[in-house]
Subunit: 135 residues, 2 copies
DNA sequence: ACGCTGGTTGAGAACGATTGTCAAACTGGG
DNA sequence: CCCAGTTTGACAATCGTTCTCAACCAGCGT
């Protein structure tokens, strides 16, 4: 085989819209809803459809380039993230976010899961509180 | 004071509808959506409006008598629960649920939060996996 | 540079969960 | 039995998110 390109070739094209979303994500470090991100893009003079924002965020989330989690109302909120596994400490008033790591927690969850015979484990852990500035 | 009834008097009345929701909740031990609970009630011959199911579930959740969490689609799902603080190990295939407790995790989250100056802490922690029966 | 092919986009409709509205029905106390 | 405050239900209204589909654009071979 003459390097028959084994990769399925995702064919993700670098378009103006995707750049705009990436730029918007780079502009803040707390979690924002798709609507807010859409608004931010508009304020930056760009024009990107809301549906496209959703599509792009979903793609980025699949690629592991952004974190997506749900706030207490069940809305999806996103932000760019580091590539290591971590969790978040989020201010429920202003949204200020701190990435935290807890090896012990990771160990605990897999131990618990194994103990009950569960396989293929994943978990969600988010901490909400009021940050110093908002108290 | 002659016991001037300092409580705002919640006046939660035991109605047919509330009993029906409670009965439905007692009928299963995994998490179900409001719609599913509503359907279950119908199948049991009772007739309760969907809005009432939502209202009742919200009330029960406030009272701490049911757990409410969100599945991966962001939908709210409920089930009756024990009264101690705990988390869940949920099978992502069949929904089988195990309540788990992790004092260490509770301690860790509050420690992390305090360390960063966050107050009034709450947290969510759910573990998803494939149960023995579904493997 | 030109045209083709398939990924991408946008506007708006469609959707589905959840909440709000408001008059009618119900509950418990007096 | 009456009254005042709760609760309910049918349905409209929200709201976040996804779908639809024709127009558009990027990369590639010629």
């Amino acid at each position: 085989m003459t390097s028959t390109d084994p990769t399925p070739r995702p064919a993700v094209r670098p378009t103006r819209q995707r750049r705009a979303v990436a730029a918007a994500l780079a502009g803040f470090d707390d979690f924002r809803s798709a609507q807010e991100i859409h608004d931010l893009i508009s304020q930056q003079g760009e024009s990107v459809g809301l549906a496209t924002v959703y599509r792009t965020l979903a793609t980025l989330a699949d690629a592991g380039e952004v974190d997506m989690l749900r706030n207490e109302d069940g809305e999806a909120i996103w932000r760019s993230c580091s590539d290591t596994h971590h969790h978040h400490l989020v201010c429920r008033t202003c949204g200020a976010t701190v990435e935290v790591e807890g090896p012990a927690v990771e160990r605990w969850t897999s131990a618990i899961a194994t103990e009950h015979g569960y396989a293929d484990i994943s978990h969600t852990l988010e901490i909400f509180g009021t940050c110093p500035a908002c108290r």
